[in-house]
C-alpha cells in the first residue's frame, strides 16, 4: 500500500497558506491550469530590477498544487530571477529524475514533495506553480 505524503508541512501550507491572496501591485500575472484535474492557479509576481520582491497565488486545486505553490513562493520571494529559475530547475529535476543532497537542501520545505515522483498522476499538481513561474520568468 502506498504511503501518504500528506504530512503536516504539506497540509499546513494547504489549509493556512501564507501567499494565497491578491497582489494589486503585481507586474506579472499568469494563469496555470491542469485541465484534467481542475487545478487552476494564478501566479502574481512583483519583479523590480530583476528581483522578485513580492509574489502571491490565487485559485483552486488539490492540496499538492496549492501547498507546492505556497512553498515555492516562500523560496523565491527576495531572490533574483536567475536564482528562482535555478530553484525551479532543481525542483523539476527532483521530481523527474534526481538531485544531489545539497540541491535538495536548497529547496527547503519544497523538498518534501520529492516522493511525488512515485505518483505519476500527481506530478503535474506539484509542478503547476513552478511551471507557471518558469513561464513568467522566461518571457
Amino acid at each position: 500500500m502506498a504511503s501518504t505524503f500528506y504530512n503536516e508541512v504539506l497540509t499546513d501550507h494547504n489549509i493556512n497558506p501564507t501567499h494565497k491572496h491578491t497582489l494589486p501591485d503585481a507586474n506579472f500575472k499568469l494563469q496555470g491550469v491542469n485541465p484534467s484535474c481542475g487545478d487552476d492557479i494564478t501566479l502574481n509576481l512583483k519583479v523590480e530590477d530583476g528581483i522578485i520582491v513580492d509574489g502571491s497565488y490565487e485559485g483552486v486545486g488539490c492540496a499538492i498544487s496549492q501547498a507546492s505553490a505556497d512553498m515555492m513562493l516562500d523560496l523565491v520571494i527576495g531572490k533574483t530571477k536567475e536564482e528562482a529559475l535555478k530553484l525551479s530547475d532543481t525542483f523539476m529535476r527532483m521530481i523527474k529524475s534526481s538531485v544531489t543532497e545539497d540541491e535538495l537542501d536548497s529547496l527547503e520545505e519544497a523538498s518534501i514533495l520529492q516522493d511525488i515522483s512515485h505518483m505519476p498522476a500527481r506530478v503535474k499538481c506539484a509542478v503547476l506553480g513552478w511551471r507557471t513561474l518558469d513561464e513568467i520568468l522566461n518571457k
Binding site: 500500500m1 501518504t4 503536516e8 497540509t11 484534467s36 488539490c62 499538492i64
Partner: protein, 406 residues
C-alpha cells in the same frame, strides 16, 4: 451486512487482496472463467475467424459467432445479426455517429442528449453537429440527476433526428426511463440510443422491451476482457447504414471501382476481429447468468445502502445525486469540504481503498453541478461490507489527515 462474499474467490486479483476495489464503474475485475476462456481460445481455437476454409478457422469463427448469439440473448435482441462487436461503448457510439449521424443528418436537424452524458456520448454528437450543420441540444436534469419525460419532451420536436441518453448515469448512478424516452423520440420520428455501459453489467436489460434503436456497452465493465464491446442496433436501421470502417472481411465483392458490402453485422466489423475477447465476453455472460441479476442486484443494492447511509453520517461529506440508495445502482459520487477529490483518492489509496476522482469524463456535468471534480466509489457484487467499512473508515479520517481540527 455481507461480511464474507462467496463470489470474491472467483476473481484471482481479489482473492487475497489487501485492497478494496471500489472503482467498478471504471472497469470491473475478471473472474477465472473469463481469463481461462480467453486462454482456451488461443490454446485450442485460434485462427483468423470468418475467412479460413479449414477446421481451426471454423472453430475460431464458432467462438466468435457463439459469443454474438450469447450477447443477443443476454440483452433480448431478436437475432445475433443485431449485435455488432466493437472495442467498447465509446467505439459503438462513434460507429452510430459516423455511420448514421454523418450520413443521414442535414442542416437544421436536431440531436438531443442530456447534460449527464459521458464524454463518449457527447463528443461524437458535437462532431456530427459541426460537420452536418445539425443542432446539438442538451436536456438538463435536476441537481440530483433526475431527468423526467417532461424535461425531455420539452426539447423534442419534428426537427429531432437523434436522442441519445445514458441508461444509468456514471456520475449519479440514477437510471433513466429509456423505455419512455424511446417512445417519446419515436413519436417525433427520431431514433433513440441508450448508452448501456453502466446498466448492462448491473441490471437486466431487454432491448425489445425498452424498444431502443441502439444500445452501446463495454465488455470490460461486465467482467469481460478489455477491447471487446458492442452495439445493439435494430436490424432494419443497421441495414440502411453505410459501413463505419472499410477493409477486409466486410465486403462481398470488390472491384477496382468499388465494392458491395457484407450483410449486417459483418459490414461493420472490418479487419481481424477480437475473437479471444469475444470468447471472454461469452464466458462473462455465462458467469453473470450463473449468479443471476436478482442476486447481483440484491448484493449491490445492500452494499450501496450501507455505503450511502454511512457516508451521510460523516460530517463535511456531500453526496451527489439522490438520497434514495435504490437510485444509485452501486455508484456513489461525493465531495468532502476542504479536501480536493484527488487528495481524497490519494489518502483512500494509502488505506488500500481504490476509488475514482476527477471529472468522470463528464466535465459539462461537473460545471453544471458547480464542482470542478468529485470522488466516486462504485460497487460490484463481489464487494463486501468489509470493503464498504474500510472505505467509510478512511473517509471519516480524511479531514483529520488533511490537517483540519474538526
Amino acid at each position: 451486512m455481507i461480511m464474507d462474499n462467496q463470489f470474491v474467490k472467483d476473481f484471482p486479483i481479489l482473492a487475497d487482496a489487501e485492497f478494496s476495489y471500489l472503482d467498478n464503474a471504471a472497469t470491473t475485475q475478471k473472474p477465472s472463467v473469463v481469463l481461462e476462456a480467453g486462454r482456451d481460445y488461443y490454446e485450442t481455437s485460434n485462427a483468423n475467424p470468418l475467412r479460413g476454409l479449414y477446421d481451426l478457422s471454423v472453430k475460431a469463427t464458432d467462438v466468435y459467432e457463439n459469443a454474438r448469439q450469447k450477447m443477443a440473448d443476454f440483452i433480448g435482441a431478436k437475432s445475433a445479426e443485431e449485435i455488432v462487436f466493437t472495442r467498447n461503448a465509446t467505439e459503438s457510439l462513434n460507429l452510430i455517429a459516423y455511420s448514421y449521424g454523418m450520413n443521414f443528418l442535414k442542416p437544421g436537424d436536431e440531436i438531443v442528449i442530456s447534460i449527464m452524458e459521458h464524454h463518449s456520448n457527447m463528443l461524437p454528437w458535437q462532431n456530427v453537429a459541426k460537420k452536418t450543420g445539425a443542432v446539438l441540444k442538451y436536456v438538463m436534469c435536476d441537481k440530483t440527476g433526475k431527468l423526467t419525460a417532461d424535461m425531455l419532451k420539452s426539447e423534442l420536436s419534428e426537427k429531432t433526428a437523434i436522442v441519445s441518453i445514458a441508461h444509468i448515469s456514471n456520475v449519479f448512478g440514477c437510471k433513466n426511463d429509456v423505455k419512455e424516452f424511446a417512445s417519446l423520440a419515436h413519436e417525433v420520428g427520431a431514433i433513440f440510443i441508450a448508452d448501456g455501459a453502466q446498466s448492462v453489467p448491473h441490471i437486466s436489460v431487454n432491448v425489445e422491451d425498452l424498444d431502443v434503436d441502439f444500445l452501446s456497452f463495454s465488455g470490460h465493465k461486465m467482467y469481460a476482457p478489455m477491447g471487446i464491446g458492442g452495439l445493439y442496433g435494430k436490424k432494419e436501421i443497421l441495414e440502411k447504414m453505410p459501413p463505419f470502417l472499410y477493409g477486409g472481411e466486410m465486403i462481398e465483392y470488390v472491384t477496382i471501382e468499388g465494392a458491395t458490402y457484407a450483410p449486417v453485422p459483418h459490414k461493420f466489423e472490418a479487419g481481424t476481429v477480437n475473437a479471444g475477447g469475444a470468447g471472454g465476453l461469452s464466458a462473462a455472460i455465462d458467469y453473470i447468468n450463473g449468479i443471476g441479476f436478482e442476486k447481483i442486484e440484491e448484493i449491490e443494492n445492500e452494499l450501496t445502502k450501507e455505503l450511502l447511509c454511512g457516508l451521510k453520517e460523516i460530517p463535511y461529506v456531500n453526496v451527489v445525486g439522490s438520497d434514495d440508495y435504490l437510485e444509485h445502482h452501486g455508484i456513489v459520487t461525493f465531495t468532502v469540504d476542504g479536501v480536493h477529490p484527488h487528495d481524497i483518492a490519494a489518502i483512500l489509496d494509502s488505506d488500500g481503498v481504490y476509488v475514482r476522482a476527477g471529472h468522470h469524463c463528464a466535465q459539462p456535468l461537473m460545471k453544471y453541478l458547480g464542482t470542478p471534480s468529485t470522488a466516486r466509489a462504485s460497487l460490484s457484487f463481489y464487494n463486501s461490507s468489509k470493503d464498504v467499512n474500510r472505505f467509510l473508515e478512511s473517509v471519516s479520517k480524511l479531514r483529520e489527515k488533511m490537517g483540519y481540527k474538526d
